[in-house]
C-alpha cells in the first residue's frame, strides 16, 4: 500500500496521464508544423522564382508601331508587306546595308524582320513588370497603371525563352541572354573536373589502399575533413592570390604567348576552374574513399592470393567495382561547383563581356554570377531575367544530377550482368 501511495492517489495518476497525453499531442503538432514549414519553404522558393519569370510587362516604345502603320498596336499585327516596307524605309542606312549584306530582307522570315524592327526602330524599354501572381490577381492595379502611362503597351512576357538561352549579355533586359554566362560555366566546370578528378581519386586511393595507419595518414585525413568545411569564399581568396596574381603568367597564357585577351591578366577560365577544383577536391576525396571502403576485403584477399600486386588489385578489381559510386559522387560535386558564386566573384569574373569565351585563357562570367549581377540591380525587369536565369540554372543542375543517377544505375546493372 505504501508504494502505490507514493505515486499519488488514483485521481492524481489519471490527471497526470491526461496532462502527459496533452503534452504529447502538443509536441506532435509542433513537429508537424515544423515539417510543414520545411515543405512550405521549398514551395515558396520555387514560387518566387516562377513568379518572376512570367508576368505582365508594361513597355514603352521609342517609336510606336501605330505610327508606322495605322491602327496596328503591335509589330506582330503587321502584314508581311508592311514589315518589309517599314524595314526598308525606317532602318538607318548603315544598318540597312549590313542587314542586306548578311541576308536580304526579302529572304528573311517574319519573325526575323519583327525582331529587327523591334531592336532598331521601335526600341522598347521596360517601364514596369509584374509577377505572375500579381498579373493574375491584381488586374485593377495594372489597369490603373496603364491609364496613367498612356504611352505604355502591355504584353504578357515569358522571360525564359530560347532566345534568352542563346542571346548574349545586353544592357537592355529585354534582349539579355545567358549564352556567354552558360558557356563560361561549362568551360569552368570542365577545367574543374580535369583538375580535381585525377588528384582527388588518386589521393583517395592512396589514403584508402596504400597508407599505413601512422600519424601522417591521420593528419592527411583530418586535413581533408577540415578543408571540406572551409567557407567557399576563402577558396576564392586563395585562388585570387595564387592563380590570378602569383601565377598570372600561367593562367593568362602569356607564358605560352597565346594571350587571348590582354586585359584578362589572370582572371581567366583557367584560374576559375583551378579555384573551384581546390574547392571540390576534398569532396571528391571523401566520396571516393567511401566508395572504396564499401568494397569488401575478401575481394582484395582473393586477388592477392592469385599473385596480383597491390596496384593490379586496385586497378583490376577494386576500382571497376567502385567506379559507379565514384563517378556519381564526382558529378554531384561538380554540380555543387556549378552553383558556386562567391569564389568566382573574388577571383574576378567579368561584369560585362560581349565576347563568348574561346578558351581557357579567356575572361569569363558564369551563370550564378550573371544571376547575382541581375538580381543586384534595382530596375524591375532585371529581377525577371534573373528569375529566368535561375530556372535555367536549376534545369542544368537537374540534368547533371539525373545523369549521375543514370550513370550509377547503368554501371550497377552492368556489374551484375558483367561479361
Amino acid at each position: 500500500m505504501q508504494s502505490s501511495l507514493a505515486f499519488g492517489s488514483e485521481e492524481n495518476v489519471l490527471s497526470l496521464m491526461e496532462k502527459r497525453r496533452k503534452v504529447s499531442l502538443i509536441w506532435q503538432v509542433v513537429f508537424l508544423l515544423a515539417t510543414s514549414l520545411a515543405i512550405l519553404f521549398l514551395v515558396l522558393l520555387l514560387f518566387s522564382i516562377i513568379d518572376s519569370t512570367f508576368g505582365y510587362a508594361a513597355l514603352a516604345y521609342e517609336v510606336e508601331p501605330s505610327s508606322l502603320v495605322e491602327g496596328r498596336q503591335h509589330l506582330s499585327e503587321f502584314s508581311r508587306l508592311q514589315l518589309e516596307e517599314t524595314a526598308r524605309s525606317r532602318l538607318s542606312s548603315g544598318i540597312l546595308r549590313r542587314v542586306e549584306y548578311e541576308k536580304p530582307i526579302a529572304d528573311r522570315s517574319d519573325k526575323d524582320l519583327t525582331a529587327l524592327l523591334e531592336q532598331y526602330v521601335v526600341k522598347p524599354s521596360v517601364l514596369r513588370t509584374w509577377g505572375l501572381w500579381e498579373s493574375l490577381t491584381n488586374q485593377d492595379e495594372i489597369e490603373m497603371y496603364l491609364q496613367e502611362q498612356d504611352q505604355a503597351v502591355l504584353t504578357f512576357k515569358n522571360w525564359l525563352t530560347f532566345d534568352f538561352l542563346f542571346a548574349d549579355q545586353s544592357a537592355n533586359p529585354l534582349y539579355a541572354g545567358i549564352r556567354t554566362a552558360l558557356l563560361g560555366s561549362l568551360w569552368i566546370i570542365l577545367i574543374t573536373f580535369l583538375f580535381a578528378f585525377p588528384i582527388g581519386v588518386g589521393s583517395a586511393i592512396y589514403l584508402q589502399e596504400y597508407a599505413k595507419p601512422n600519424r601522417l595518414s591521420r593528419l592527411l585525413q583530418l586535413n581533408i575533413f577540415n578543408l571540406s568545411a572551409v567557407p567557399s569564399i576563402i577558396y576564392g581568396l586563395l585562388g585570387l592570390a595564387v592563380f590570378v596574381r602569383a601565377m598570372e603568367g600561367l593562367t593568362s597564357g602569356s607564358v605560352f604567348s597565346t594571350t587571348v585577351d590582354t586585359t584578362a591578366n589572370g582572371r581567366t577560365i583557367l584560374s576559375g576552374g583551378l579555384t573551384l577544383g581546390l574547392l571540390v577536391l576534398p569532396i571528391i576525396i571523401i566520396n571516393t574513399q567511401e566508395a572504396l571502403k564499401a568494397v569488401p576485403d575478401s575481394l582484395r584477399m582473393s586477388s592477392y592470393c592469385i599473385g596480383a600486386t597491390k596496384w593490379q588489385t586496385t586497378w583490376g578489381q577494386v576500382l571497376p567495382v567502385s567506379i559507379d559510386r565514384i563517378l556519381t559522387g564526382t558529378i554531384l560535386a561538380l554540380s555543387r561547383a556549378l552553383g558556386e558564386t562567391a569564389p568566382l566573384v573574388v577571383i574576378g569574373a567579368s561584369t560585362f563581356i560581349s565576347v563568348d569565351p574561346s578558351g581557357i585563357f579567356s575572361k569569363f562570367t558564369t551563370l550564378p554570377i550573371q544571376i547575382y549581377q541581375w538580381s543586384a540591380r534595382p530596375q524591375g525587369a532585371y529581377r525577371n531575367v534573373a528569375g529566368a536565369a535561375i530556372i535555367a540554372l536549376m534545369i542544368l543542375l537537374m540534368i547533371l544530377n539525373s545523369s549521375a543517377i543514370i550513370i550509377r544505375d547503368r554501371l550497377s546493372k552492368k556489374k551484375r550482368m558483367e561479361a
Partner: protein
C-alpha cells in the same frame, strides 16, 4: 564414441594407403612463432609438408591452424601487427627472407577460402585475369578450359563462360575459385575450410576433387571436420591451445596413425569428441 569402430571405418576408407612411400619435403616449418602485436598466436611450430600429399590441419577453434596456413603463403603479412619468427622453407628457400617477393610466393602457393569469393567478373575472366596479371603469354581459351576441367567444372559452365560468376551456386563458385588458383600453375594449394560453407553434396564433390588434385599439386587443408580430414588427407597435424591461448602443434602423423593410434592424450580426446 568408440575408437575401435572409427578405426574400422578408417581402414575401409584407406584400403590402399601405403605407409612406406618415401615423400619429398616441399614445405618445412622450423620453430615458427607467430604474434599479432603482443599476442602470441602460435608457438614453436615445426613440421614437414610432403609433396603430392594432402595434409590436414585439425584442432579446436582458436588453436592457430588458419594462422599457420596463412603464414605459408605470407597472407598473414596483410594483417596489422603480424610478425613471424623462425623459418618457413619452400623448396629449401626461406620465404621470409628479405629478398623474397611475397607476390611471387602467392602464385606458387595458392589459397582457397572458406566462403567462395569469385571475382565479380565473368567465369572466363575469373580464370583469365589471374593468368594475365602474372604475364601468361599462351592461349587463354585453352587455359580456361584446362583449369575448369581440372576443377571438375567445365561441363557445367562451358556454355556460359561469359556469365557473371556470382550467379553460380556455392559449390560451383568454390570449384571456380579452385580453377582460378590452378590457372596460375601453383605447386601448392592451401585450403582454409573450403567446404564448410557448402551443402553435403557440394562438399563431397570438393573432397573428390582434392583427391584428384593431389596428383599434380600439394594440398594443405584446414578443417574442423574430422571425418573430412580422415577421408581426404594423407597426413594430419593436430593443433591445440595452451592455457595462454597460444596455439601449438600437438601431434603430426600419417592420418591413419593419428586417428587409429594417437600418441598424445589430447589428440585422442579431441578425436573422440571430448572437446570441440
Amino acid at each position: 564414441m568408440n575408437t575401435t569402430n572409427l578405426a574400422e571405418n578408417l581402414l575401409t576408407a584407406f584400403p590402399t594407403q601405403s605407409i612406406a612411400e618415401p615423400a619429398r619435403t616441399i614445405i618445412r616449418l622450423q620453430d615458427v612463432n607467430i604474434r599479432y602485436g603482443t599476442f602470441h598466436a602460435v608457438k614453436d611450430a615445426s613440421m614437414d609438408i610432403y609433396e603430392h600429399k594432402v595434409t590436414a590441419f585439425i584442432g579446436p577453434s582458436g588453436c592457430g591452424k588458419s594462422t599457420v596456413l596463412r603464414s605459408i603463403n605470407r597472407m598473414n603479412d596483410l594483417i596489422r601487427g603480424a610478425t613471424l619468427e623462425g623459418k618457413v622453407l619452400f623448396n629449401n628457400e626461406d620465404l621470409y627472407s628479405k629478398d623474397v617477393d611475397p607476390v611471387l610466393i602467392r602464385r606458387r602457393i595458392g589459397m582457397v577460402f572458406q566462403k567462395p569469393n569469385p571475382f565479380p567478373k565473368s567465369i572466363y575472366e575469373n580464370i583469365a585475369w589471374g593468368a594475365r596479371v602474372n604475364g601468361y603469354k599462351g592461349d587463354y581459351d585453352e587455359l580456361v578450359e584446362t583449369s575448369l576441367r581440372s576443377a571438375a567444372l567445365w561441363d557445367e559452365v562451358k556454355d556460359k563462360l561469359k556469365q557473371n560468376a556470382l550467379r553460380l551456386s556455392g559449390g560451383q563458385q568454390q570449384r571456380l575459385c579452385i580453377a582460378r588458383t590452378i590457372a596460375v600453375q601453383p605447386q601448392v594449394i592451401l585450403m582454409d575450410e573450403p567446404a564448410s560453407a557448402l551443402d553435403p553434396i557440394a562438399t563431397s564433390r570438393i573432397e573428390e576433387l582434392i583427391l584428384e588434385l593431389k596428383q599434380a599439386y600439394t594440398i594443405v587443408i584446414v578443417t574442423h571436420n574430422m571425418g573430412q580430414a580422415s577421408r581426404v588427407s594423407d597426413y594430419t597435424a593436430f593443433f591445440m591451445v595452451d592455457a595462454n591461448r597460444t596455439g601449438y602443434l600437438e601431434e603430426y602423423e600419417q592420418t591413419e596413425q593419428l586417428f587409429l593410434n594417437p600418441v598424445h592424450k589430447k589428440t585422442e580426446e579431441y578425436i573422440s569428441g571430448k572437446f570441440g
